[in-house]
Protein backbone atom coordinates (compact mmCIF):
# COMPACT_ATOMS: atom_id res chain seq x y z
CA UNK A 1 0.00 0.00 0.00
CA UNK A 2 1.33 3.38 -0.95
CA UNK A 3 1.85 6.06 1.67
CA UNK A 4 2.40 9.78 1.41
CA UNK A 5 5.70 10.58 3.14
CA UNK A 6 8.38 13.20 3.34
CA UNK A 7 11.61 12.11 1.62
CA UNK A 8 13.72 12.17 4.76
CA UNK A 9 11.13 10.14 6.68
CA UNK A 10 10.96 7.60 3.87
CA UNK A 11 14.72 7.22 3.99
CA UNK A 12 14.66 6.80 7.77
CA UNK A 13 11.84 4.23 7.63
CA UNK A 14 13.70 2.51 4.79
CA UNK A 15 16.72 2.19 7.05
CA UNK A 16 14.72 0.48 9.79
CA UNK A 17 13.13 -1.86 7.25
CA UNK A 18 16.56 -2.63 5.78
CA UNK A 19 17.59 -3.97 9.18
CA UNK A 20 19.56 -0.95 10.38
CA UNK A 21 19.65 -1.19 14.17
CA UNK A 22 22.04 1.58 15.14
CA UNK A 23 21.79 5.16 14.07
CA UNK A 24 24.06 7.80 15.57
CA UNK A 25 23.84 11.36 14.33
CA UNK A 26 23.73 15.06 14.98
CA UNK A 27 21.22 17.73 13.91
CA UNK A 28 21.89 19.72 10.75
CA UNK A 29 19.46 21.10 8.20
CA UNK A 30 18.20 19.69 5.83
CA UNK A 31 18.73 16.13 7.09
CA UNK A 32 17.34 16.58 10.61
CA UNK A 33 14.06 14.76 9.92
CA UNK A 34 16.04 11.54 9.52
CA UNK A 35 17.39 12.04 13.02
CA UNK A 36 13.99 13.01 14.41
CA UNK A 37 12.17 10.07 12.83
CA UNK A 38 14.70 7.54 14.07
CA UNK A 39 14.78 9.05 17.57
CA UNK A 40 11.28 7.72 18.08
CA UNK A 41 11.01 4.79 15.68
CA UNK A 42 14.36 3.06 16.15
CA UNK A 43 13.59 1.98 19.71
CA UNK A 44 10.25 0.50 18.54
CA UNK A 45 12.24 -1.65 16.13
CA UNK A 46 14.52 -2.82 18.95
CA UNK A 47 17.43 -0.75 17.71
CA UNK A 48 19.58 2.00 19.14
CA UNK A 49 19.34 5.69 18.37
CA UNK A 50 22.00 8.00 19.79
CA UNK A 51 22.12 11.75 19.32
CA UNK A 52 25.85 12.13 19.65
CA UNK A 53 27.88 15.09 20.83
CA UNK A 54 29.24 15.62 17.32
CA UNK A 55 29.35 14.17 13.84
CA UNK A 56 32.73 12.70 14.75
CA UNK A 57 31.25 10.67 17.58
CA UNK A 58 28.34 9.69 15.31
CA UNK A 59 30.42 8.21 12.52
CA UNK A 60 32.74 6.49 14.99
CA UNK A 61 29.85 4.94 16.89
CA UNK A 62 28.63 3.66 13.53
CA UNK A 63 32.10 2.24 12.84
CA UNK A 64 31.99 0.33 16.14
CA UNK A 65 28.48 -1.00 15.58
CA UNK A 66 29.26 -2.00 11.99
CA UNK A 67 32.50 -3.67 13.06
CA UNK A 68 30.46 -5.66 15.57
CA UNK A 69 28.12 -6.82 12.80
CA UNK A 70 25.15 -4.44 12.93
CA UNK A 71 23.68 -2.62 9.98
CA UNK A 72 24.50 0.92 11.09
CA UNK A 73 23.91 4.31 9.53
CA UNK A 74 24.52 8.00 10.10
CA UNK A 75 23.40 11.04 8.17
CA UNK A 76 24.42 14.65 7.80
CA UNK A 77 24.73 17.51 5.35
CA UNK A 78 27.44 19.81 4.01
CA UNK A 79 29.67 20.96 6.89
CA UNK A 80 28.58 18.06 9.09
CA UNK A 81 29.32 15.58 6.34
CA UNK A 82 32.84 17.00 6.07
CA UNK A 83 33.43 15.94 9.68
CA UNK A 84 32.46 12.38 8.86
CA UNK A 85 35.06 11.93 6.19
CA UNK A 86 37.88 10.80 8.46
CA UNK A 87 35.56 8.04 9.60
CA UNK A 88 34.62 7.14 6.03
CA UNK A 89 38.31 6.77 5.24
CA UNK A 90 38.68 4.46 8.26
CA UNK A 91 35.67 2.37 7.19
CA UNK A 92 37.25 2.08 3.74
CA UNK A 93 40.61 1.04 5.14
CA UNK A 94 39.11 -1.47 7.55
CA UNK A 95 36.73 -2.71 4.83
CA UNK A 96 33.71 -2.38 7.07
CA UNK A 97 30.25 -1.87 5.55
CA UNK A 98 28.13 1.07 6.69
CA UNK A 99 25.78 3.61 5.14
CA UNK A 100 26.32 7.36 5.32
CA UNK A 101 23.67 9.75 4.08
CA UNK A 102 24.41 13.27 2.82
CA UNK A 103 21.26 15.32 2.34
CA UNK A 104 23.00 18.07 0.40
CA UNK A 105 22.57 21.75 1.03
CA UNK A 106 24.22 24.63 -0.79
CA UNK A 107 27.53 26.39 -0.66
CA UNK A 108 31.02 26.47 0.72
CA UNK A 109 31.88 26.65 4.43
CA UNK A 110 28.74 27.11 6.47
CA UNK A 111 26.96 27.61 3.15
CA UNK A 112 23.24 27.76 3.29
CA UNK A 113 20.41 25.41 4.18
CA UNK A 114 18.68 26.05 0.86
CA UNK A 115 18.41 23.54 -1.99
CA UNK A 116 21.67 22.56 -3.59
CA UNK A 117 23.89 19.83 -5.02
CA UNK A 118 27.19 21.12 -3.76
CA UNK A 119 28.86 17.96 -2.46
CA UNK A 120 29.46 15.99 -5.68
CA UNK A 121 33.23 16.39 -5.57
CA UNK A 122 33.38 15.56 -1.88
CA UNK A 123 31.50 12.27 -2.09
CA UNK A 124 32.78 10.99 -5.44
CA UNK A 125 36.46 11.91 -5.20
CA UNK A 126 37.17 10.54 -1.72
CA UNK A 127 36.80 13.67 0.39
CA UNK A 128 38.76 12.13 3.23
CA UNK A 129 42.43 11.14 3.19
CA UNK A 130 44.23 8.38 1.38
CA UNK A 131 42.54 7.98 -1.99
CA UNK A 132 39.63 5.66 -1.21
CA UNK A 133 36.49 5.40 -3.35
CA UNK A 134 32.97 4.94 -2.09
CA UNK A 135 29.93 3.76 -4.03
CA UNK A 136 27.48 6.67 -4.14
CA UNK A 137 23.74 6.29 -4.84
CA UNK A 138 21.76 9.37 -5.82
CA UNK A 139 17.99 9.03 -5.21
CA UNK A 140 15.65 11.27 -7.20
CA UNK A 141 12.33 10.52 -5.52
CA UNK A 142 10.79 9.74 -2.16
CA UNK A 143 10.43 6.14 -3.34
CA UNK A 144 14.12 5.90 -4.15
CA UNK A 145 14.99 7.42 -0.78
CA UNK A 146 13.46 4.34 0.81
CA UNK A 147 14.63 1.80 -1.79
CA UNK A 148 18.22 2.99 -1.99
CA UNK A 149 18.87 2.32 1.70
CA UNK A 150 18.34 -1.37 0.95
CA UNK A 151 20.54 -1.12 -2.10
CA UNK A 152 23.20 0.74 -0.10
CA UNK A 153 23.38 -1.83 2.70
CA UNK A 154 23.46 -4.72 0.22
CA UNK A 155 26.30 -3.13 -1.74
CA UNK A 156 28.12 -2.21 1.46
CA UNK A 157 28.09 -5.82 2.63
CA UNK A 158 28.82 -7.37 -0.76
CA UNK A 159 31.95 -5.26 -1.23
CA UNK A 160 32.74 -4.60 2.46
CA UNK A 161 32.78 -0.86 1.95
CA UNK A 162 31.04 2.23 3.23
CA UNK A 163 28.34 3.42 0.85
CA UNK A 164 27.04 6.98 0.55
CA UNK A 165 23.48 7.94 -0.27
CA UNK A 166 23.68 11.40 -1.82
CA UNK A 167 20.23 12.85 -1.37
CA UNK A 168 19.50 16.56 -1.49
CA UNK A 169 17.34 19.10 0.30
CA UNK A 170 14.59 18.92 -2.31
CA UNK A 171 14.34 15.13 -2.34
CA UNK A 172 14.58 15.07 1.46
CA UNK A 173 11.94 17.70 2.07
CA UNK A 174 9.39 16.87 -0.63
CA UNK A 175 6.26 14.84 0.03
CA UNK A 176 5.68 11.93 -2.27
CA UNK A 177 3.98 8.57 -2.49
CA UNK A 178 6.07 5.61 -1.49
CA UNK A 179 5.58 1.86 -1.42
CA UNK A 180 7.67 0.96 1.59
CA UNK A 181 9.76 -2.18 1.07
CA UNK A 182 9.00 -5.19 3.26
CA UNK A 183 11.17 -5.21 6.36
CA UNK A 184 14.06 -7.62 6.68
CA UNK A 185 15.96 -8.80 9.76
CA UNK A 186 19.73 -8.57 9.76
CA UNK A 187 21.74 -11.17 11.69
CA UNK A 188 24.73 -9.57 13.44
CA UNK A 189 26.51 -12.95 13.24
CA UNK A 190 26.01 -13.20 9.48
CA UNK A 191 29.71 -12.60 8.79
CA UNK A 192 32.66 -14.40 10.35
CA UNK A 193 34.86 -11.30 10.21
CA UNK A 194 32.80 -9.14 12.57
CA UNK A 195 33.93 -8.52 16.14
CA UNK A 196 32.16 -10.88 18.50
CA UNK A 197 34.86 -12.40 20.72
CA UNK A 198 37.67 -14.72 19.64
CA UNK A 199 36.93 -18.29 18.64
CA UNK A 200 38.65 -21.40 17.29
CA UNK A 201 39.10 -19.79 13.88
CA UNK A 202 40.65 -16.70 15.46
CA UNK A 203 42.55 -18.03 18.49
CA UNK A 204 44.48 -14.80 19.00
CA UNK A 205 41.44 -12.64 18.26
CA UNK A 206 40.36 -10.71 15.19
CA UNK A 207 42.47 -7.64 14.52
CA UNK A 208 40.21 -5.17 12.82
CA UNK A 209 42.41 -2.39 11.58
CA UNK A 210 43.59 -0.94 8.30
CA UNK A 211 44.13 -4.01 6.09
CA UNK A 212 47.56 -2.59 5.23
CA UNK A 213 48.84 -3.96 8.57
CA UNK A 214 47.85 -7.60 8.79
CA UNK A 215 45.96 -8.84 5.80
CA UNK A 216 48.36 -8.18 2.94
CA UNK A 217 52.09 -8.49 2.42
CA UNK A 218 53.87 -5.27 1.45
CA UNK A 219 53.79 -6.05 -2.27
CA UNK A 220 50.22 -7.31 -2.20
CA UNK A 221 48.48 -4.33 -0.62
CA UNK A 222 48.42 -1.89 -3.56
CA UNK A 223 47.29 -4.55 -6.06
CA UNK A 224 44.55 -5.48 -3.60
CA UNK A 225 43.33 -1.88 -3.40
CA UNK A 226 43.43 -1.49 -7.18
CA UNK A 227 41.52 -4.75 -7.72
CA UNK A 228 39.00 -3.85 -5.03
CA UNK A 229 38.07 -0.54 -6.63
CA UNK A 230 38.25 -1.90 -10.17
CA UNK A 231 35.68 -4.52 -9.23
CA UNK A 232 33.31 -1.92 -7.77
CA UNK A 233 33.91 0.29 -10.81
CA UNK A 234 33.04 -2.49 -13.23
CA UNK A 235 30.09 -4.02 -11.39
CA UNK A 236 28.19 -1.20 -9.75
CA UNK A 237 27.45 1.35 -12.49
CA UNK A 238 23.73 2.12 -12.63
CA UNK A 239 21.78 4.70 -14.56
CA UNK A 240 18.39 5.55 -15.99
CA UNK A 241 17.82 6.55 -19.61
CA UNK A 242 14.95 8.73 -20.80
CA UNK A 243 14.33 9.10 -24.54
CA UNK A 244 17.95 8.36 -25.36
CA UNK A 245 17.46 6.14 -28.42
CA UNK A 246 17.41 8.82 -31.10
CA UNK A 247 18.58 11.73 -28.98
CA UNK A 248 20.78 14.44 -30.47
CA UNK A 249 21.49 15.99 -27.12
CA UNK A 250 21.61 14.23 -23.77
CA UNK A 251 21.17 16.04 -20.51
CA UNK A 252 23.08 14.47 -17.65
CA UNK A 253 21.62 15.13 -14.21
CA UNK A 254 20.93 13.40 -10.88
CA UNK A 255 18.70 14.06 -7.87
CA UNK A 256 16.44 17.10 -7.97
CA UNK A 257 17.95 18.42 -11.22
CA UNK A 258 17.16 15.15 -13.01
CA UNK A 259 13.47 15.57 -12.23
CA UNK A 260 13.41 18.93 -13.99
CA UNK A 261 15.40 17.50 -16.89
CA UNK A 262 12.76 14.79 -17.34
CA UNK A 263 10.15 17.48 -17.73
CA UNK A 264 12.44 19.32 -20.15
CA UNK A 265 12.74 16.17 -22.27
CA UNK A 266 8.94 15.96 -22.45
CA UNK A 267 8.62 19.62 -23.43
CA UNK A 268 11.43 19.40 -25.98
CA UNK A 269 10.01 16.26 -27.57
CA UNK A 270 6.66 18.09 -27.84
CA UNK A 271 8.46 20.62 -30.00
CA UNK A 272 10.17 17.93 -32.03
CA UNK A 273 13.56 18.44 -30.43
CA UNK A 274 15.45 15.21 -29.93
CA UNK A 275 16.55 15.65 -26.33
CA UNK A 276 17.08 12.87 -23.82
CA UNK A 277 18.28 12.35 -20.27
CA UNK A 278 21.01 10.19 -18.84
CA UNK A 279 20.48 10.02 -15.09
CA UNK A 280 23.36 8.54 -13.12
CA UNK A 281 22.03 6.44 -10.24
CA UNK A 282 25.56 5.71 -9.11
CA UNK A 283 27.76 8.82 -9.07
CA UNK A 284 30.76 6.67 -8.21
CA UNK A 285 31.27 4.62 -10.19
CA UNK A 286 30.09 7.10 -12.80
CA UNK A 287 27.98 5.34 -15.47
CA UNK A 288 30.57 5.63 -18.18
CA UNK A 289 29.32 2.38 -19.74
CA UNK A 290 26.18 4.27 -20.64
CA UNK A 291 28.14 7.13 -22.17
CA UNK A 292 30.16 4.85 -24.43
CA UNK A 293 26.89 4.03 -26.19
CA UNK A 294 26.32 7.65 -27.13
CA UNK A 295 29.80 9.12 -27.54
CA UNK A 296 30.33 10.27 -31.12
CA UNK A 297 26.67 9.63 -31.98
CA UNK A 298 25.14 12.69 -30.34
CA UNK A 299 25.81 16.40 -30.72
CA UNK A 300 26.55 16.95 -27.08
CA UNK A 301 26.00 16.33 -23.41
CA UNK A 302 24.49 19.01 -21.18
CA UNK A 303 25.37 18.62 -17.52
CA UNK A 304 22.75 20.19 -15.23
CA UNK A 305 23.47 20.49 -11.49
CA UNK A 306 22.75 22.83 -8.57
CA UNK A 307 26.08 24.38 -7.68
CA UNK A 308 28.06 27.45 -8.65
CA UNK A 309 30.75 26.16 -11.00
CA UNK A 310 29.72 22.66 -12.07
CA UNK A 311 31.19 19.55 -10.49
CA UNK A 312 29.72 16.46 -12.15
CA UNK A 313 30.41 18.09 -15.52
CA UNK A 314 34.08 17.14 -15.06
CA UNK A 315 33.15 13.44 -14.91
CA UNK A 316 30.89 13.85 -17.93
CA UNK A 317 33.82 15.40 -19.80
CA UNK A 318 36.18 12.67 -18.63
CA UNK A 319 34.03 10.00 -20.26
CA UNK A 320 32.60 11.91 -23.26
CA UNK A 321 35.25 10.62 -25.63
CA UNK A 322 35.50 13.91 -27.49
CA UNK A 323 31.76 14.54 -27.72
CA UNK A 324 31.07 18.16 -26.79
CA UNK A 325 30.09 18.83 -23.21
CA UNK A 326 27.96 21.80 -22.16
CA UNK A 327 27.46 22.91 -18.60
CA UNK A 328 24.49 24.46 -16.82
CA UNK A 329 25.31 24.91 -13.16
CA UNK A 330 22.10 26.48 -11.91
CA UNK A 331 23.51 27.72 -8.60
CA UNK A 332 20.92 28.18 -5.89
CA UNK A 333 18.05 28.06 -8.38
CA UNK A 334 16.44 24.78 -9.29
CA UNK A 335 16.70 24.29 -13.03
CA UNK A 336 13.66 25.46 -15.00
CA UNK A 337 12.37 23.08 -17.66
CA UNK A 338 11.40 25.80 -20.13
CA UNK A 339 14.76 27.51 -19.72
CA UNK A 340 16.42 24.16 -20.35
CA UNK A 341 14.50 23.70 -23.60
CA UNK A 342 15.60 27.17 -24.72
CA UNK A 343 19.18 26.32 -23.79
CA UNK A 344 19.00 23.04 -25.71
CA UNK A 345 17.72 24.89 -28.77
CA UNK A 346 20.60 27.35 -28.53
CA UNK A 347 23.11 24.52 -28.13
CA UNK A 348 21.76 22.68 -31.17
CA UNK A 349 21.82 25.97 -33.10
CA UNK A 350 25.50 26.35 -32.28
CA UNK A 351 24.97 29.49 -30.19
CA UNK A 352 26.48 28.12 -26.99
CA UNK A 353 30.11 27.28 -26.49
CA UNK A 354 30.97 23.93 -25.02
CA UNK A 355 33.00 23.86 -21.77
CA UNK A 356 34.87 20.69 -22.70
Amino acid sequence: MKKLMKGNYALAEGAIRAGCRLFAGYPITPQTEILEYLSSHMAEAGGTFVQTESELAGINMVIGAAAAGARAMTSSSGPGFSLKQEGISYLSSMEVPAVIVDVMRYGIGLGNVVLGQADYFQVTKGGGHGGYKVPVYAPASVQENADFVFKAFDTAEAYRTPVIILSDAAIGQMMGSVELPDPIEHDINKFDWTLKGRDARHPTGRKMTDVIYYDYAFDDYDPHIRARYAKMHDELQEWEEVETEDAELLMVAYGISSRVCKEAVRLARGEGIKAGLLRPITLWPFPEKAMTKFNGRIKGYLSVEMNACGQMVEDVALHAGGTKVYSDPTGRKVADSEDLVALIKDILAGKIEEVF
Partner: protein, 246 residues
Amino acid sequence: MAITKQIPDTIFAANSFCPGCGHGIVIRLIAEVLDEMDLSDRTIGVLAVGCSCLVNRTLAVDLMQSAHGRATAAAAGIKRTRPGNLVFTYQGDGDAISIGIAETLYSAQRDEKITQIIVNNGVFGMTGGQMSPTTLVGQRTATSEKGRNSEINGDPVNIMKLLSQFNTAYLARGSVHDAANILKTKQYIRTAFELQMRGEGFTCVEVISPCPTNWHMTPDQAVERIANEVLEVYPLGEFVKGEHQK
Protein backbone atom coordinates in the same frame (compact mmCIF):
# COMPACT_ATOMS: atom_id res chain seq x y z
CA MET B 1 58.84 -21.63 47.75
CA ALA B 2 59.91 -20.67 44.29
CA ILE B 3 57.83 -18.03 42.58
CA THR B 4 57.54 -18.26 38.81
CA LYS B 5 55.98 -15.62 36.65
CA GLN B 6 53.52 -17.04 34.17
CA ILE B 7 52.73 -15.33 30.90
CA PRO B 8 48.94 -14.90 30.85
CA ASP B 9 47.10 -17.08 28.30
CA THR B 10 45.65 -13.95 26.73
CA ILE B 11 49.10 -12.69 25.71
CA PHE B 12 50.10 -14.30 22.40
CA ALA B 13 53.35 -12.52 21.58
CA ALA B 14 55.96 -10.41 23.30
CA ASN B 15 55.11 -6.72 23.20
CA SER B 16 57.26 -4.24 21.35
CA PHE B 17 57.15 -1.33 23.77
CA CYS B 18 60.36 0.50 24.76
CA PRO B 19 62.38 -0.75 27.75
CA GLY B 20 60.88 0.53 31.00
CA CYS B 21 57.57 1.49 29.39
CA GLY B 22 54.47 0.98 31.54
CA HIS B 23 52.22 -0.18 28.69
CA GLY B 24 53.50 -3.75 28.86
CA ILE B 25 52.55 -3.94 32.54
CA VAL B 26 49.04 -2.58 31.94
CA ILE B 27 48.50 -5.04 29.09
CA ARG B 28 49.69 -7.89 31.30
CA LEU B 29 47.26 -6.82 34.04
CA ILE B 30 44.36 -6.72 31.57
CA ALA B 31 45.34 -10.18 30.30
CA GLU B 32 45.60 -11.59 33.86
CA VAL B 33 42.19 -10.21 34.80
CA LEU B 34 40.61 -11.60 31.61
CA ASP B 35 42.18 -15.00 32.31
CA GLU B 36 40.97 -14.98 35.91
CA MET B 37 37.45 -13.90 34.92
CA ASP B 38 37.47 -16.35 31.99
CA LEU B 39 36.33 -13.55 29.71
CA SER B 40 38.88 -13.55 26.88
CA ASP B 41 36.46 -15.23 24.45
CA ARG B 42 33.84 -12.56 25.08
CA THR B 43 36.09 -9.50 25.05
CA ILE B 44 36.31 -6.80 22.38
CA GLY B 45 38.94 -4.09 22.80
CA VAL B 46 39.17 -0.77 20.98
CA LEU B 47 42.65 0.63 20.53
CA ALA B 48 43.59 4.27 20.31
CA VAL B 49 46.06 5.83 17.91
CA GLY B 50 49.55 6.11 19.36
CA CYS B 51 51.58 3.52 21.25
CA SER B 52 48.27 1.77 21.98
CA CYS B 53 48.33 0.50 18.38
CA LEU B 54 51.03 -1.96 19.42
CA VAL B 55 48.55 -3.84 21.61
CA ASN B 56 47.21 -5.48 18.42
CA ARG B 57 50.39 -7.53 18.29
CA THR B 58 50.29 -8.89 21.81
CA LEU B 59 46.78 -9.19 23.32
CA ALA B 60 44.80 -12.25 22.21
CA VAL B 61 41.27 -10.84 22.08
CA ASP B 62 39.17 -9.32 19.30
CA LEU B 63 40.53 -5.80 18.77
CA MET B 64 39.57 -2.83 16.67
CA GLN B 65 41.78 0.11 15.78
CA SER B 66 39.86 3.34 16.24
CA ALA B 67 40.46 6.77 14.76
CA HIS B 68 42.47 9.14 16.97
CA GLY B 69 40.40 10.12 19.99
CA ARG B 70 37.25 8.26 19.01
CA ALA B 71 37.76 4.96 20.82
CA THR B 72 34.96 5.36 23.37
CA ALA B 73 32.44 6.29 20.65
CA ALA B 74 33.42 3.18 18.69
CA ALA B 75 33.31 1.08 21.87
CA ALA B 76 29.83 2.40 22.62
CA GLY B 77 28.72 1.30 19.15
CA ILE B 78 30.15 -2.17 19.77
CA LYS B 79 28.68 -2.51 23.25
CA ARG B 80 25.24 -1.36 22.14
CA THR B 81 25.39 -3.97 19.37
CA ARG B 82 26.73 -6.75 21.59
CA PRO B 83 25.72 -5.94 25.19
CA GLY B 84 26.80 -9.39 26.40
CA ASN B 85 30.44 -8.82 25.51
CA LEU B 86 33.07 -7.10 27.64
CA VAL B 87 34.07 -3.97 25.72
CA PHE B 88 37.00 -1.84 26.75
CA THR B 89 39.08 0.93 25.21
CA TYR B 90 42.84 1.22 25.55
CA GLN B 91 43.99 4.80 25.09
CA GLY B 92 46.80 7.13 25.99
CA ASP B 93 46.39 10.57 27.54
CA GLY B 94 46.82 12.30 24.20
CA ASP B 95 44.09 10.21 22.62
CA ALA B 96 41.57 10.16 25.47
CA ILE B 97 42.17 13.56 27.08
CA SER B 98 43.32 15.79 24.21
CA ILE B 99 41.73 15.04 20.84
CA GLY B 100 39.19 12.61 22.32
CA ILE B 101 38.05 14.64 25.32
CA ALA B 102 34.54 15.11 23.92
CA GLU B 103 34.09 11.39 23.28
CA THR B 104 35.53 10.57 26.72
CA LEU B 105 33.26 12.98 28.58
CA TYR B 106 30.12 12.16 26.62
CA SER B 107 30.63 8.42 26.99
CA ALA B 108 30.64 9.05 30.74
CA GLN B 109 27.71 11.45 30.46
CA ARG B 110 25.65 8.83 28.59
CA ASP B 111 26.89 6.22 31.07
CA GLU B 112 27.94 3.93 28.24
CA LYS B 113 28.44 0.45 29.68
CA ILE B 114 32.07 0.21 28.64
CA THR B 115 35.42 0.34 30.41
CA GLN B 116 37.84 3.07 29.39
CA ILE B 117 41.48 2.46 30.24
CA ILE B 118 43.62 5.58 29.94
CA VAL B 119 47.37 5.10 30.20
CA ASN B 120 48.65 8.50 31.32
CA ASN B 121 52.36 9.08 30.79
CA GLY B 122 52.13 12.82 30.27
CA VAL B 123 53.44 12.88 26.70
CA PHE B 124 52.51 11.99 23.14
CA GLY B 125 54.72 8.91 23.04
CA MET B 126 54.48 7.53 19.51
CA THR B 127 55.23 10.89 17.89
CA GLY B 128 58.32 11.48 20.01
CA GLY B 129 57.37 13.00 23.35
CA GLN B 130 55.42 16.16 22.70
CA MET B 131 53.46 17.95 25.44
CA SER B 132 50.07 16.40 26.23
CA PRO B 133 47.15 17.69 28.32
CA THR B 134 48.57 15.87 31.35
CA THR B 135 52.17 17.11 31.06
CA LEU B 136 53.15 18.61 34.42
CA VAL B 137 53.87 22.31 34.79
CA GLY B 138 57.59 22.76 34.25
CA GLN B 139 57.98 19.42 32.47
CA ARG B 140 60.20 19.61 29.41
CA THR B 141 58.91 17.95 26.26
CA ALA B 142 59.56 18.19 22.53
CA THR B 143 56.99 21.01 22.32
CA SER B 144 57.73 22.62 25.68
CA GLU B 145 61.50 22.78 25.61
CA LYS B 146 61.69 25.17 28.54
CA GLY B 147 59.07 23.31 30.50
CA ARG B 148 55.26 23.52 30.41
CA ASN B 149 54.26 27.10 31.13
CA SER B 150 50.80 27.29 32.65
CA GLU B 151 50.34 30.86 31.43
CA ILE B 152 50.72 29.69 27.84
CA ASN B 153 49.53 26.08 28.02
CA GLY B 154 47.19 26.09 31.02
CA ASP B 155 47.35 23.61 33.85
CA PRO B 156 47.41 19.81 33.49
CA VAL B 157 44.02 18.14 33.04
CA ASN B 158 42.78 15.89 35.82
CA ILE B 159 40.48 13.54 33.93
CA MET B 160 39.22 11.82 37.08
CA LYS B 161 37.94 15.18 38.36
CA LEU B 162 36.26 15.94 35.05
CA LEU B 163 34.61 12.52 34.86
CA SER B 164 33.43 12.89 38.45
CA GLN B 165 30.88 15.42 37.20
CA PHE B 166 28.87 12.60 35.68
CA ASN B 167 26.87 9.73 37.08
CA THR B 168 29.25 6.85 36.39
CA ALA B 169 29.72 3.37 37.84
CA TYR B 170 33.42 3.42 38.62
CA LEU B 171 36.36 5.80 38.42
CA ALA B 172 39.82 4.91 39.66
CA ARG B 173 43.40 6.00 39.13
CA GLY B 174 46.24 3.54 39.62
CA SER B 175 49.93 3.54 38.82
CA VAL B 176 52.41 0.94 37.65
CA HIS B 177 55.57 2.48 39.16
CA ASP B 178 55.94 -0.12 41.93
CA ALA B 179 54.75 -3.61 42.83
CA ALA B 180 52.17 -2.55 45.41
CA ASN B 181 50.51 -0.13 43.02
CA ILE B 182 50.65 -2.62 40.16
CA LEU B 183 48.59 -5.01 42.30
CA LYS B 184 46.15 -2.24 43.21
CA THR B 185 45.81 -1.23 39.57
CA LYS B 186 45.03 -4.81 38.67
CA GLN B 187 42.24 -4.79 41.24
CA TYR B 188 40.88 -1.53 39.80
CA ILE B 189 40.76 -3.06 36.31
CA ARG B 190 39.07 -6.17 37.69
CA THR B 191 36.49 -4.10 39.56
CA ALA B 192 35.75 -2.08 36.43
CA PHE B 193 35.31 -5.22 34.31
CA GLU B 194 33.10 -6.83 36.95
CA LEU B 195 30.88 -3.76 37.18
CA GLN B 196 30.59 -3.62 33.40
CA MET B 197 29.59 -7.28 33.19
CA ARG B 198 26.94 -6.60 35.82
CA GLY B 199 25.59 -3.90 33.51
CA GLU B 200 26.32 -1.10 35.94
CA GLY B 201 27.49 1.63 33.57
CA PHE B 202 30.53 3.65 32.59
CA THR B 203 33.80 2.59 34.21
CA CYS B 204 37.19 4.21 33.75
CA VAL B 205 40.62 3.34 35.07
CA GLU B 206 43.41 5.85 34.53
CA VAL B 207 46.88 4.41 34.95
CA ILE B 208 49.92 6.58 35.65
CA SER B 209 52.69 5.06 33.60
CA PRO B 210 56.39 5.74 32.94
CA CYS B 211 57.75 6.69 29.51
CA PRO B 212 61.54 6.63 30.04
CA THR B 213 62.24 7.09 26.33
CA ASN B 214 60.41 10.39 26.03
CA TRP B 215 61.16 11.54 29.57
CA HIS B 216 64.84 11.05 28.67
CA MET B 217 65.41 9.02 31.82
CA THR B 218 66.44 5.53 32.81
CA PRO B 219 63.59 3.22 33.82
CA ASP B 220 64.61 3.62 37.48
CA GLN B 221 64.63 7.41 37.24
CA ALA B 222 61.23 7.31 35.55
CA VAL B 223 59.50 5.37 38.31
CA GLU B 224 61.16 7.62 40.91
CA ARG B 225 59.79 10.63 39.09
CA ILE B 226 56.29 9.18 39.31
CA ALA B 227 56.64 8.58 43.05
CA ASN B 228 58.20 11.99 43.76
CA GLU B 229 56.49 14.36 41.31
CA VAL B 230 53.62 12.91 39.28
CA LEU B 231 51.47 11.45 42.05
CA GLU B 232 51.40 14.82 43.79
CA VAL B 233 49.40 16.16 40.83
CA TYR B 234 47.50 12.93 40.11
CA PRO B 235 46.61 11.28 43.43
CA LEU B 236 45.73 7.58 43.28
CA GLY B 237 42.62 5.80 44.45
CA GLU B 238 39.02 4.96 43.68
CA PHE B 239 36.96 8.10 43.16
CA VAL B 240 33.59 6.62 42.31
CA LYS B 241 32.61 3.19 43.51
CA GLY B 242 29.17 1.98 44.36
CA GLU B 243 27.43 5.35 44.58
CA HIS B 244 26.23 5.04 40.99
CA GLN B 245 22.62 6.17 40.72
CA LYS B 246 20.62 4.49 37.98
